[in-house]
Symmetry: C2
Subunit: 104 residues, 2 copies
DNA sequence: TTGACAAATAGACAACCATCAATATAATAA
DNA sequence: TTATTATATTGATGGTTGTCTATTTGTCAA
C-alpha cells in the first residue's frame, strides 16, 4: 500500500458518478449495461471509463461471461485503504487502534 | 456527513502535495511558512491554496496568533470520514463493524 | 459468414485544478 | 506614519479529467 495507491484511491472516490457506481455494485455483480441503466444519466462509454479508473485503483473486480462483463466492488480494498488512511493521518485516535488490531 | 462531504474529503486526499501537508501537521501546529519551508518545492500561495481546500473539507483547524496562522490536522475528521466511507462501501466487513461500534 | 449485441477504445471539447508571479490585506515594529 | 513580515487573494497558464459521439473489438446466434 504505497502513497501512490492512496492517491489513486482518493481520486477514485473524488467523483460523484464513481461513488454512485461503487454504491450500485457494492454487494452484487452488475453488468456494464445494468450500471448504465440504473444510473440513467450517463452513456455507456462514460461508465466504461469510470470502471477503468476504479479497476486501476483496485476497487472493483471484473468477471467476463459471454458478451458481458460483470463488476463488483472490492470491499476488502476499501477497508485496507481506509485503514491505511487512518494509520497515516489519525494515529492518535482509538478508532485507528481498533482498526489496526483488526487489519493485522 | 452528507455525500457531498465525502466527495470533498476524497478530493482533499486526491493530491500528493495536500497529503504531504496533512502528514506534516498531523500531530502538531505549524505556521504557513513552516509548512512552505518543510515542503521545499512549492510557493507560499500554493500552500495557502491547499490549506483552503483542506479547511473547506473540515480536515484542518486554524488558529491565528499575531501575524501568523497555525494549522493542525483534524484527526477526528479523518476518522469519521473514513468510518463513513467504510459504512457506505464496505458494509459486509467485520472491520467496518468494529469501526461502527467505536464511532457511535 | 453475416448480423446483432456488449463493452472497450479513440478523439474532441469544456470544465476543473495545481501552480506560479504579482498584489492585497492584516498585524506588528520602528 | 512608514516599513516589515505573514498570510490570503487574484489572474494567468498548462495539465488533468468527465463527458460525449463515433468507432472498434469480442462474442454469440442464425
Amino acid at each position: 500500500m504505497t502513497k501512490h495507491d492512496i492517491v489513486l484511491f482518493a481520486k477514485a472516490f473524488a467523483d460523484d458518478t464513481r461513488q454512485k457506481i461503487m454504491k450500485l455494485c457494492c454487494c452484487e455483480w452488475l453488468s456494464v449495461n445494468e450500471i448504465v441503466e440504473r444510473l440513467g444519466n450517463v452513456t455507456q462509454p462514460t461508465v466504461s471509463h469510470h470502471l477503468a479508473v476504479l479497476r486501476e485503483a483496485g476497487l472493483v473486480d471484473a468477471r467476463h461471461e459471454g458478451k458481458q462483463t460483470f463488476y463488483s466492488l472490492n470491499q476488502q480494498r476499501v477497508v485496507s485503504c481506509c485503514g491505511q488512511l487512518m494509520l497515516n493521518f489519525a494515529p492518535e485516535s482509538d478508532v485507528t487502534e481498533a482498526v489496526a488490531d483488526k487489519l493485522e
